[in-house]
Symmetry: C2
Amino acid sequence: MEQDAEPSSPMNRRELFTLIGRVAGTAAMYQAMSSLAFAAESTFDPRFGLQGAPRGASVLILGAGLAGMVAAYELRKAGYKVQILEYNNRSGGRNWSLYGGDVYTELGGFTQHVGFDKGLYLNPGPWRIPHHHRGILHYAALVGATLQPFIQINYAAYLHSTRAFGGKPQRYRSIKADYEGHVAELLAKTVQQSRLDQSVTKEDQEILLESLRGFGALDENFRYGKSLEASSRRGFDHPPGGGLDARPTPSDPVGLSDILKSQLWRALAQSNEHEEQQTLFQPVGGMGMIGRKFGELLKEVIRYDAKVTRIDQNESGVTVSFVDAKKGGAPQTAQADWCVCTIPASILSQIPISVSAPMQAAINAIPYAASCKVGLQMKRRFWEQDEDIYGGITYTDQANAMIAYPATDYFSSGKGVLLGAYTFGRPGEEFTALAPEDRVKLAVELGANIHPQYRTEFDTGASVAWHRVPWTLGCFGGWTEERRAQHYDNLCQIDGRIVMAGEHVSMIPAWQEGAVLSSINAITRLHQRIMQG
Amino acid sequence: MEQDAEPSSPMNRRELFTLIGRVAGTAAMYQAMSSLAFAAESTFDPRFGLQGAPRGASVLILGAGLAGMVAAYELRKAGYKVQILEYNNRSGGRNWSLYGGDVYTELGGFTQHVGFDKGLYLNPGPWRIPHHHRGILHYAALVGATLQPFIQINYAAYLHSTRAFGGKPQRYRSIKADYEGHVAELLAKTVQQSRLDQSVTKEDQEILLESLRGFGALDENFRYGKSLEASSRRGFDHPPGGGLDARPTPSDPVGLSDILKSQLWRALAQSNEHEEQQTLFQPVGGMGMIGRKFGELLKEVIRYDAKVTRIDQNESGVTVSFVDAKKGGAPQTAQADWCVCTIPASILSQIPISVSAPMQAAINAIPYAASCKVGLQMKRRFWEQDEDIYGGITYTDQANAMIAYPATDYFSSGKGVLLGAYTFGRPGEEFTALAPEDRVKLAVELGANIHPQYRTEFDTGASVAWHRVPWTLGCFGGWTEERRAQHYDNLCQIDGRIVMAGEHVSMIPAWQEGAVLSSINAITRLHQRIMQG
């Protein structure tokens, strides 16, 4: 937590709470109590702010992504002269949405003219914001982005394997119910037959049994089977209705062995992971709205189309050479007292930079993950109209990995853009090797195995393969534990007059919160260093 | 399903699908395939419609709730002359929102002047619509209500018991993680020590073990303990951050015995129930928007303030006596060939009605559930600002049963209305016995045990105790299995010229879908009866 670095007088907790309560009111007091004594949800403190920059002190910021813009905003507010150099002709970096009319050229020269209808978009990078990512939520509000719920868990979405159930997708609700039902039944049997671990007291065993009945929708004999209770979890053959002929008929659960062999349970825990726990949000109009609005706020200090070619520093300051990314021409230079560098390490490792050997080694050590997203515009929202799927994610063992349904414009009779593929790691490599139009084609082909409607409803597509994105050459800093142990702290150090920020300089890689928190941490330390003289 | 009652020529499934595909396109074909061969999500068919009413035939409908308005809309469309008599001076029935400025008087004479700010509301009755409730979703769209997501599962909301953890609320995420972690570890131990049920093959045991690791966030030795994996489910002591001092520190799980004895696991399965499975919706502006807009659509045929006092029928028609609910005066009568009666059985059992003995017995047999909701306006949205809770539900063993957070106006700096109590059954009786202002007072007092901010932030409240609502005397038809077996089919019959509809005439009691589907079933059969002459 960045405050740890600030000097503080010794004070016990009660005194501290009282002081905070007096100064900042009950909200701040509650926050302080939470973050110190109770479950800490985030290290971000909304009261964050720097003050009192030395007169005339300047900071050059490389990159107008979230880390760079947070640094620029906060340092400017503290009184620094700031300037941002940005390679692209837009702000946001990986905070980015592709809209109809956009033109995007990836490494290798493939150019896509995005053909989505007005209002529809693909978020090639981040697409959801967890409720506990207070940093990015704070800046989203600050720049005026409106947030709406992102649907992570949808019991009506599918789990799909080409090798299970004859390739037929299964509803999330039924796999979840059957897996948990069988697990509960197995453990209940063990308890009932006194085969449970000795360490559980008789009293606890009774409570455990009772809890398993509720957890697994077990019947009075602690069996999981064809029953209305189980069907109220997994779905009915004939759901309850009204009037005559309304009685529900239960469905047949899938047997334990088939559930296990299907491997579909693999996706069940996904939404229990900290970053994917409901409630989540997304900006209305696309994730890129945050970066766009942030850029408008900072428009006086961002220089676009500036491709950094060299970063020099000496005792008195930092000099950065850059060329116009569009027009080329002779190198220009920008100078400042200090530098916050948010250029992804994948790019930065190719730019001459005067830093210490440990810092250079750290920059060179971070592998960047390949990842690909494909957006598919469909002529109608068949997933809603035919299949009762509103938002959420279908997981598949095919190379497209998932299909995500738009968490916006529900019940619209118009078109919609599906996330038709979001690949990472192994099976996804099929995608990254392809040209954009073939990635779209493959996503359609694979998706049609789950939604046959693709064959008639597909309209147009767009895709971003991150290792071919000219300004990142990869999706995010894919640290291994070993490399992090060796290099991470070195990467975080203020190296002379340069400090690094970005998701790769955080313990929350690939998430916008990592970029925001790394930036706050970096500029807090930088400001302290400067103030110490 | 209502279609079963329609005559159909014998046709095999493939022929049927082909025919449907040719006539109605792929959407209809997919729906037909789904509902016949695959997981049936709903018995509602969006293509529903009646046609060809006999010239001059008329239907009198009692009640302008959802069942009554669906009947009126569809019968009018089919060519019937329809009229609705409604006791209240508004449409919607239990589809109802209370706004600032509303005045509501309950039985016993207590009058509340609702003081909520503009745009804020309490839904005293239904407040969420499951994604598979196709009937109510269909009519919500038809009347022009805009829907937005309702948040059911929120991992940041609390589970609370006065008798566990010293009365301190626990985050949903931590109880869920710890309960599932311990269950997974217990079963994994059983597998590893060959104490599992004989019926599971060795091969399946291996897969089971692997699955339990993911399910329970177990470590490499299949233990659930203090680890980053477990903390990424239950929350960290120090969550991951950016830059230096960003490394996460894991939190201590609660032991099995404490988790079991806490009884907090009781609430974990709630969101797995069919009606509460994500995705869910709510109308923008309050649930009552559906009833209001539906009423506007039918304004020519609804007579408000009509208190039915007697229902007579003979060979040639139905005569209903009513008095003006506001002005009183002499009884008036309305007549029609047929009658759809949606008056709740709790009220109808007190009205003279000429029906058969079995129907009268059915009407008298349905017990109505007492239930109470309390809306509490707070001066600021502290659950969001202090505690990262956006929508969702906190469950407690106190009499208020739950606190639900508004799934609208997220991040607003203004006021917000919490659902401060939603009681049913036993502990809730404390509320139903109180006067409205004391119900609000109790909800504030109990809620402050979970959110101490209540003490400074509470602004104004309103409450509805359903057994005191003059036009329902209860919340919904709380059928027991025995009573349903004896009376339900009788209640559904067309009794001479009268047919019943409403949630109490459905297998989905208390849900709006029950009202809609019962109405469709009733008018479908009524129309058939009429067409048969």
